[in-house]
Symmetry: C2
Subunit: 398 residues, 2 copies
């Protein structure tokens, strides 16, 4: 597509769509223009000229002059329908829909192969951090061991406010919603589903392994209480919601869980809506990337970078899928955790491999011990709001 | 070059060359093999088979079966000669020689254009941090304002040991040399020349502006004494040697200077031989990259990534050179600094635009004030070892 102006057809004009519009307008030297924007509600007031908009998806999907479809809507099924139709129609596609992508990775990969068109989705993972492109382009010859990090802006904002400004969970959540970092229904964020979708995507680009979101255990910050916060503070730690995928003994495991993070760990200083991703590899040891994980222009900027890359015929190579040594996925790994409860009948302490600390009181009790990830994933008792867990991870201070 | 095995001709087999050899050998699925290694001293014992080696550069430069020349030697003039001959002979070239590249950027750019061959040099800037490729590929549509960071592993190692383990400058330097992070002649590192070469390279890829190394002011950590260290500690700060290039009022300025860095600033927690680069842009605000800035396999891994990229026909596009709005270089900017001296006759306090703090004692005195960068660059009085400066920069904590 070099040296021509590409015409964009955009689906959705919410926070990211408007961010893309702003970024595109203020960027010199990008040969792309918006031809049409497909929206759901024609009666909603819009900040730009009405001639841009349509409610008929075929005005974009069947328009031969539209080169690139940019999919930025919230509905998962509709998003998949749009993306797959566009790819079949030979259009390049850029998307920011993490859930839709995570749930359909094998089909989306196949559609790219069959139709020989690129599908880019940098904005789906850590917004402004160019992590997919770095995994694709730079780590293809590195012996990568792990990808882990903070990849949900709204929970990180909430945790920052709790730890740095002593706000309550509820006040912090409300602030995050007002600033546009958290959805009206915050379940996907605070229960750790959103970062899980991202981990599923990163796992494919890091290790070449396809995994279904439901195979990966996620537990968010929805059970966090003052007792846990005091436990962290007494140990000079903060709490961060961490997504992790790691190669161990020829397999790869993954999860999203709240972690106790020590001061001077690189992840400690990732504040507010920022995301931070830590890579561990055999030759380069640790590499760390930090950038805004939420917000219209930060995400819009990542979308525009994908559009810009299409002008240079960039596509994901998925090199690791093509190699013969992808590790199989497993939940059979040991984790050292803090488990808090009101009384011992609420939890199954016999599930633990070993217990190294035990604290009991009239209000809350806790143990510190080692447990199998698969046991945690199957633990119904974790649904009790009196029960919370924190991973006591490794220290990445230096 | 896709789907073929590329033959490498390597110049130099020191720390980085041996790191490359190791990384290459342990990497599956890379279609590259070493055909010949040109070395200076045939009598030095080598860890690999003698058949690899030659002392005749033409055995590589004139061998039509060698596709890629990898230049990893220390002598600047000889390195430039090798690289330019290889490019003229139509070979792709990968290099890690920051000084040679920084001093010859316009010629090297021209050679690529004229001979239509790629020249990649990721390892020259921040070793394992893929900063050039990110500036090239990801920030081409972003309104980038600044690139700054720790881009010299050996001085950062020394400063870490001084601040974290209370080692003396001399002991810390010796340790860095023993670990291979610092050269036998450490002048280029500790006086800030090495990071300056990197900043000159990054400035081109960030803003499209060519600048000669001698136009950029560098002042290292060679005058640092206990008085300065105490000054930093009393303010809950550490000291880091920071390279900086920044767009201001339509111009771009750059320098390498020691900075006072506050706790919880992202750069504070970049320890030992690690490098950290902070980008500021209009849409994504701050982005931060951390990785190993020294060591054989970390740098060898960056070299191999460039080799791997050549297999996919990657080349730097230098998009910003081609745009019409490159900012001109200037040293006409104000800096807020701490200036320490033994007595006022050693410095020119009248050079300051204003002075906000003044401390005097029988041993050392200091002022805090604002001064023009061009005045500092011209200041002969900075050569006096009794005189030191620290920049009191912005705070990038969050």
């Amino acid at each position: 597509m070099e040296n021509k102006i590409i015409n964009l057809g955009i689906f959705g004009f919410g926070c990211v769509g408007q961010g893309l519009y702003e970024v595109l307008n203020r960027t010199k030297g990008i040969n792309a223009r918006i031809k049409k924007i497909c929206i759901k509600d024609p009666n909603k007031p819009r900040p730009i000229d009405a001639s841009y908009f349509t409610t008929d998806k075929n005005e974009i999907l069947n328009d031969p002059t539209i080169d690139v479809v940019v999919e930025l809507i919230n509905e998962t099924d509709a998003a998949f329908e749009i993306v797959s139709t566009a790819l079949r129609n030979g259009k390049a596609v850029v998307s920011a829909s993490k859930r839709m992508i995570a749930e359909n990775l094998p089909a989306l990969y196949q559609l790219q192969v069959e139709n020989k068109v690129p599908f880019l989705y940098e904005a789906s993972s850590c917004a402004s951090i160019p992590i997919i492109r770095n995994l694709e382009e730079y780590y293809d010859n590195d012996l990568l061991n792990a990808v882990e990090g903070i990849c949900n802006g709204s929970t990180n904002y909430i945790l920052t406010k709790i730890f740095e400004e002593n706000l309550s969970f509820e006040t912090a959540l409300k602030q995050a919603q007002e600033l546009g970092f958290a959805e009206t229904d915050p379940t996907l964020d605070i229960e750790g589903y959103d970062p899980k979708f991202k981990i599923v995507i990163l796992l494919l680009h890091a290790f070449g392994t396809f995994v279904k979101p439901e195979e990966v255990f996620n537990f968010g910050i929805h059970h966090l209480n003052d007792f846990d916060i005091q436990f962290a503070k007494q140990r000079n730690c903060t709490i961060k919601l961490i997504g992790n995928c790691r190669r161990q003994n020829g397999h790869v495991n993954a999860y999203v869980l709240p972690h106790l993070i020590r001061e001077h760990n690189l992840l400690y200083d990732v504040y507010n809506e920022y995301n931070g991703v830590l890579l561990e590899s055999a030759f380069t040891d640790k590499q760390f990337f930090v950038g805004k994980g939420a917000g219209g222009t930060a995400t819009g900027s990542a979308v525009l970078s994908d559009i810009s890359a299409l002008l240079y015929n960039y596509r994901y190579e998925y090199k690791k899928i093509k190699q013969s040594n992808q590790p199989a996925f497993t939940n059979d790994v040991q984790l050292k955790i803090y488990l808090r409860y009101s009384n011992a009948s609420q939890v199954h302490l016999t599930d633990f491999y070993n217990i190294s600390e035990k604290y009991e009181s009239a209000t809350y009790s806790y143990v510190v011990g080692v447990i199998n990830l698969q046991k945690l994933k199957e633990a119904d008792w974790l649904k009790n709001k009196d029960v919370n867990l924190l991973v006591l991870g490794e220290d990445h201070a230096r």
